[in-house]
C-alpha cells in the first residue's frame, strides 16, 4: 500500500443492522415491541489509495456502497471495520482541522437555506469556516464567474431551478477552498447542458487548486469527462481500479461491429460471426472478441451483402454493465 496517498482506505467495512419488517398488521404490532434485525454489509473490505490532485470516479449501481464509503471518508459514519485516513486524519474523529479542508456535496440534499438568497448562506459559511474577508471575496467572484451565478445568488433559493440550485450548492461547498472534495451525484436531475457546465467547472477547480476529487455519478458522461481513473464497486466489494482505457482492455476485450446490409431477408446465420446484440431490419450490431475482429470483418465482407461496416469500442456504459452482470453470476 502506498503510504503517501492523500486518501487511504485499508479494508474499510460497514455493516448496518436494519430491522426486518414483515407485512401485515399483526406483524407490525409485534415489531413495536420486538424487532428482528438483519445485517446488511454495505461496504466489505474496500482498499484503495488516491493521490493528491487526482480526480477519481466512483462507480456502481444503486446500493453498491458508494455513498456509504463517501460518508465514512467525510467523517459522517464510523466504519465497522478497517481503517482510512484522509490528509493524514482519521475522518470519523471529525477534527475541525480536517473538516475545514473537505467538502461533501450530496446531489439529493441541500445545505442552502431555502427561504433566503444563496448569498446569505455563503455569508454564514464564511463565518463558520473563518474565511478571511479578502479570500472570501476573491473566491466568490471567481465562483460567480465560472458558474455564472451573477443573476441568481441574490434570489431566494426556493425560487431557483434544480440546476441553478446545484450550482449554488457547489459554490457553497467550495468557498473555503477544500483540499478534498467528495461529490455524491452532483448532476442528479440536472439537464444535459447544466451537467456539462458543472463538469467543466469541477475540472477547472481541480486544475486550478489541485483539489483531490472523489466523485460518484450515475451519468457515465460525468465520469468519462472528468476522471482519469475509475473505481468500480458492487455489493460493497471493489471490482476494478484503474484507467478507463484499462477497464475496456481488461473487462471488455471485444469490439462492436455495426453492419448495414442490402436486404433484411437474410438466410445466413449471423451468430457464426459473433453475438448479435441488436437487429433492426438491415442494421445489425455484433459483439466480436477483440483478437478475432479483423478475421471476422474480412469474412463478413466476402460472405454478406454489406452496404456499410464500422468497428468501434463498446461504450463505457456497456462495459460497466457487463462488469456488474459478471459479478452477479
Amino acid at each position: 500500500m502506498n503510504e503517501n496517498g492523500l486518501i487511504i482506505l485499508d479494508g474499510l467495512q460497514k455493516v448496518y443492522r436494519v430491522h426486518e419488517r414483515e407485512s401485515g398488521a399483526t406483524a407490525s404490532i409485534k415489531s413495536l415491541f420486538k424487532r428482528k434485525y438483519k445485517e446488511v454489509h454495505a461496504v466489505e473490505s474496500v482498499s484503495f489509495t488516491v493521490e493528491a490532485g487526482e480526480v477519481v470516479g466512483f462507480l456502481g449501481p444503486n446500493g453498491a456502497g458508494k455513498t456509504t464509503t463517501l460518508k465514512m471518508l467525510a467523517g459522517l459514519l464510523h466504519p465497522t471495520g478497517g481503517d482510512a485516513t484522509v490528509m493524514g486524519f482519521t475522518p470519523w474523529k471529525r477534527e475541525n482541522e480536517f473538516l475545514r479542508n473537505i467538502s461533501l456535496v450530496m446531489g439529493n440534499r441541500n445545505q442552502l437555506m431555502w427561504d433566503i438568497p444563496a448569498m446569505d448562506s455563503f455569508v454564514v459559511n464564511r463565518a463558520i469556516y473563518q474565511i478571511p474577508e479578502l479570500q472570501f471575496k476573491e473566491t466568490l467572484d471567481e465562483l460567480v464567474e465560472l458558474l455564472d451565478l451573477g443573476a441568481i445568488i441574490n434570489k431566494p433559493v426556493r425560487g431557483l431551478s434544480l440546476g441553478e440550485r446545484m450550482k449554488c450548492e457547489l459554490a457553497a461547498a467550495l468557498l473555503h477552498r477544500p483540499r478534498v472534495l467528495f461529490l455524491d451525484e452532483p448532476t442528479l436531475g440536472v439537464d444535459v447542458t447544466m451537467q456539462g457546465r458543472i463538469r467543466q467547472f469541477i475540472a477547472e477547480h481541480n486544475r486550478k487548486y489541485g483539489a483531490t476529487v472523489l466523485l460518484t455519478s450515475h451519468y457515465m458522461a460525468d465520469v468519462t469527462a472528468l476522471c482519469s481513473r475509475i473505481i468500480v464497486i458492487h455489493h460493497g466489494k471493489l471490482l476494478f481500479d484503474g484507467g478507463i482505457a484499462d477497464l475496456s482492455q481488461k473487462i471488455a476485450p471485444f469490439k462492436l461491429v455495426r453492419l448495414d446490409l442490402e436486404r433484411a431477408d437474410l438466410e445466413a446465420n449471423l451468430e457464426q460471426y459473433g453475438e448479435v446484440t441488436s437487429r433492426d431490419e438491415t442494421k445489425i450490431t455484433l459483439r466480436v472478441p477483440k483478437e478475432n475482429t479483423s478475421a471476422v470483418v474480412s469474412r463478413i465482407l466476402t460472405e454478406l451483402p454489406v452496404v456499410d461496416l464500422t468497428v468501434e469500442d463498446p461504450p463505457i456504459e456497456e462495459i460497466i454493465e457487463q462488469v456488474f452482470r459478471g459479478a452477479d453470476k
Binding site: 448496518y16 467525510a74 467523517g75 459514519l77 427561504d115 463558520i128
Partner: protein, 261 residues
C-alpha cells in the same frame, strides 16, 4: 468571542428568513393577545371564588402567569425552532451538513435559528409582569432583579437541556413527533402555583422534571420571596442538567454516526 460572532451571523440570516413571512407576525400578535385574555379570565374567575389558591394571591398568580408568558416566548424564540430543526434534519438526513462543519455540532444545532416573531410573547410577558407589579405598588430592588434574571436564565437552560435529551432520542428512533408534547405538557404544569398540586405531583415536578425552576422559582425571585440558597440550588440544577444533556447528546451523536444510512 468567535461563538458570539457566529451567533450574530446565525441570527441575522434567520431573522431574514422570518422577514419573508410577515403574516406570521400579525397572527402571532392576535394569538398572543387572545391567549392572554383567556388566561387572565380563567385566573380571575378562579380567584373570585377563592381568595387564595395554594397560598398565592391573585396578583402573585398574575406574576406567575406573566413569567409563564415570558418563558414561553423565550422558549419559542430561541429553543423550540432549533430543536424542531434538529428533528427535521435527522429525518431528512441534512444533519450531515451540520456534522460536516468545523464547529461544535451541539452549538450549531442549538443556536442556528431564532424565531423573531415570538418576541411578541416575550414582550407580552414583560408587559404583564410590569403592569402587575406597578398595580401593586411594588418596587423591584436590584437584588430581586438580579435573582430574577439568574433564575430565569436557569429556567431556560433547564428547558433546553430537557428538550435536547428528548431530541437526542431521535438519533435512535428517527421519528418522534410527540416529543414536543412532552416538553409542553411539563411546561404547562408550571403555569399554576406549584402548591396547588397534590404532594406526589409536586415532588415529581420538583425533582423528576424540575418544572418549578422554570416558572415558579423566577416568579418567587421577582416577588422577593426567594432565598439565596434556592438561587444556588436553581443554578446547580441548571448546570447539572446542561452537563448531563450535553453528554447524552454526544453519546447519541456517536450512535448516529455509527448506525445511520
Amino acid at each position: 468571542m468567535r461563538h458570539l460572532k457566529l451567533l450574530s451571523v446565525f441570527y441575522r440570516s434567520s431573522i431574514q428568513t422570518d422577514m419573508e413571512y410577515r403574516a406570521d407576525f400579525f397572527t402571532r400578535i392576535i394569538a398572543s393577545l387572545l391567549g392572554l385574555l383567556m388566561n387572565v379570565g380563567a385566573f380571575s374567575i378562579a380567584f373570585h371564588y377563592a381568595g387564595k389558591i395554594g397560598g398565592w394571591t391573585f396578583p402573585q398568580a398574575m406574576v406567575l402567569l406573566s413569567i409563564y408568558y415570558l418563558m414561553d416566548g423565550l422558549i419559542e424564540m430561541f429553543i423550540a425552532p432549533n430543536m424542531r430543526a434538529v428533528m427535521e434534519h435527522v429525518r431528512q438526513g441534512t444533519l450531515d451538513y451540520i456534522l460536516l462543519k468545523p464547529i461544535s455540532a451541539q452549538f450549531m444545532s442549538s443556536f442556528r435559528t431564532v424565531n423573531i416573531w415570538r418576541l411578541v410573547n416575550v414582550l407580552v410577558g414583560v408587559g404583564l409582569s410590569f403592569y402587575t407589579i406597578t398595580q401593586r405598588g411594588l418596587v423591584i430592588g436590584a437584588t430581586e432583579a438580579f435573582m430574577f434574571a439568574v433564575t430565569l436564565a436557569c429556567g431556560a437552560v433547564i428547558v433546553y437541556s430537557f428538550w435536547l435529551c428528548l431530541v437526542t432520542l431521535t438519533f435512535w428512533f428517527v421519528k418522534l413527533d410527540n416529543i414536543e408534547q412532552i416538553v409542553w405538557q411539563a411546561f404547562e404544569a408550571g403555569r399554576y402555583p406549584i402548591d396547588v398540586y397534590p404532594i406526589w405531583l409536586k415532588n415529581t415536578l420538583t425533582y423528576v422534571i424540575p418544572v418549578v425552576f422554570i416558572i415558579t422559582v423566577p416568579a418567587q425571585a421577582l416577588a422577593g420571596k426567594l432565598s439565596m440558597s434556592y438561587l444556588l440550588v436553581s443554578m446547580f440544577v441548571a448546570l447539572s442538567t446542561l452537563v448531563g444533556a450535553s453528554a447524552f447528546w454526544r453519546f447519541g451523536l456517536k450512535h448516529y454516526t455509527g448506525a445511520s444510512a
